[in-house]
Amino acid sequence: MHPATQDLTAAPATPLVLTILSEGESYGYAIVDRVRELSGGDLEWADSMVYPLFHRLRRLGYLTTEWRTLPEGRRRNYYAITDDGRAALAGRKRHRVTALQALSSMWGGTPWLLAAT
């Protein structure tokens, strides 16, 4: 699938970004890199598409941003998760687990499915 056609506001993107940020604040490139790392190269986004997602999450109050100047003189925009963001993430995690439990019981109880959460 061409990465650019994936709808980033769909299911996996938001919780993934929030989870990565709950580990600590970070910036755009590092987050995309981490996603690539975590998914073993399977989940590939067009890199630029994360930024509208960050803006949306910031608008909703899940993230804060801060521009910082690096020693070399460049500027970088750092994102940090807020309490609202953590709450939203916890909510989504619960939904995910519930959905997977339901699926798993329908498919005849495959415990490995839960491990993939």
Partner: protein, 458 residues
């Protein structure tokens, strides 16, 4: 490839991406930083600068997709930009002024046919004025249905409310009432109310094709609000220009014996009807090119109104309403609340939703709170005299509108205060306004559909 060449390539890429109106300066800086980080990582992994650049650009994603995603998120930016790109100009000329002109002509012809059939203004048939919006607004809805390429089913959904409204409004057995000024027979109060509220209701019906059928989308609702503001301003401007044109035409031709009334009869309804669609077309084609006017006016008038409202609130609080109170006072305060709501809405529509609270937000809050204080005082005074006045259709309509606006502004003030103290995001204020829009539509529908039978068509 030398470092110089890399810099040149990055500059070219940046220039290309920056053409998109939805990407602003800060975004561009972020995207470029991202690209450079990616290139740095890849060169470290062993690629040449040349290869690293190509891979990095590919990973960033196609510029069109990028534009689209940014545009989806920041639809407000598409309204304010001062520069269009050549790409977009090409897109626009394909569905340009020809359909707009055709729909405008259709509306103009319909209204002239109806006018001649009604014998207006000689016989002053009241049904012509009552149905005037039904002769014009369906064409506006049709224009948007065409322009947004709605499906047949959606087009039917658009046109159905017009048909229903036409049936309801014309079949209601209005009794003769007290409004004797303009027409051949005295109009009942409810009939006048229907005539006044029907255009408002139908305007909300036009929202459906404008929003492409996605009437629950918050972004699309904000777009419709912006459209309404700009449309109104363009319409007024066209009207003023038209008035000058007609005035001069009459003055120039009168000595030759041409009857000025004839000119007015033919030109004015045609112009008024056609301008509805022409103004809409102007808003659509200029929305990316011209700085929006409604927010500019809002910025100018918000402080002035804030001063006026504070002074009025202090004066009335000190002196009370006393003998000044007459039965039509509520209508005046309705008008005041509508203006304050307009200032709030258009202040919101143009504001960068990620910016922190500023002095303009504080002034807004001051004017809203003053308006609320004034309104509560008026309502209090009215309640005290409710026995004296009783519930007529006009007063009930004024009271209902007042309450609808009061609740909206109270909510807006509450959320604004929370925003200014940092306890909520600006997004919540926007959401409050867009979520409240259906309330206005429902109120207009209530006056049009429910009031006449409720007050026995008096």
């Amino acid at each position: 490839m030398t470092v110089n060449q890399l810099e040149i390539d990055i500059d070219e890429w940046r220039a290309f991406v920056a053409q998109s109106p939805a990407v602003d300066g800060a975004d561009m800086e972020e995207l470029e930083a991202h690209l450079r980080d990616q290139i740095a990582d890849l060169t470290e992994a062993g690629l040449t600068a040349d290869e690293a650049f190509m891979v990095a650009v590919r990973r960033m994603g196609s510029v069109d997709d990028m534009s689209r995603e940014f545009a989806r998120e920041h639809s407000g930016r598409l309204w304010r930009q001062l520069v269009t790109t050549e790409r977009e100009e090409e897109e626009e000329t394909t569905s340009g002024w020809v359909p707009a002109l055709l729909f405008a002509l259709a509306a103009a012809i319909t209204i002239q046919v109806a006018r001649v059939a009604a014998g207006f203004p000689d016989q002053q048939a009241s049904w012509f004025v009552l149905n005037a919006s039904l002769f014009v607004l369906p064409y506006l809805a049709g224009y948007f249905a065409f322009r947004r390429r709605l499906s047949w089913r959606q087009t039917l959904v658009t046109l159905a409310p017009f048909a229903v409204a036409a049936v309801v409004v014309n079949l209601y057995p209005f009794i003769e009432g007290g409004f004797t000024e303009l027409f051949d027979r005295p109009l009942s109060d409810t009939e006048v109310l229907v005539a006044a509220h029907l255009p408002v209701l139908l305007w909300f019906v036009v929202a459906y094709p404008y929003m492409n059928g996605a009437f629950r989308s918050h972004e699309k609702r904000m777009d419709f609000v912006r459209f309404t503001g700009e449309w109104f301003i363009y319409y007024v401007l066209i009207g003023l220009g038209g008035a000058v044109l007609v005035g001069l035409t009459v003055a120039v031709l009168e000595p030759s014996g041409v009857d000025p009334e004839l000119i007015a009869e033919w030109v004015l309804p045609t112009g008024s009807a056609g301008a509805v669609i022409v103004a809409a077309w102007l808003v659509e084609s200029k929305q990316r090119v011209i700085e929006n006017m409604a927010p500019v006016l809002t910025m100018v008038f918000t402080p002035l109104f804030a001063v006026m409202l504070v002074v009025a609130a202090v004066v009335y609080a000190a002196s009370g309403f006393g003998e000044v109170f007459d039965r039509e006072l509520l209508g005046v305060f309705d008008a005041m609340l509508v203006v304050v709501l307009g200032l709030v809405l258009y202040g919101i529509s143009a504001r960068d939703s990620t910016a922190s609270p500023g002095w303009m937000d504080r002034i807004q809050l001051v004017s809203v709170v003053s308006a609320l204080v004034l309104d509560v005082m008026v309502l209090g005074a009215m309640v005290a005299r409710i026995g004296e006045f009783g519930f007529t259709p006009n007063r009930t309509a004024a009271l209902g509108l007042n309450l609808v606006l009061l609740v909206n502004l109270a909510g807006a003030a509450w959320l604004s205060a929370r925003f200014l103290t940092g306890r909520t995001t600006f997004h919540r204020l926007e959401r409050w306004q867009t979520a409240y829009l259906p309330v206005f539509a429902i109120w207009a529908a209530t006056v049009v559909v429910v009031f006449p039978p409720l007050f026995s068509f008096t």
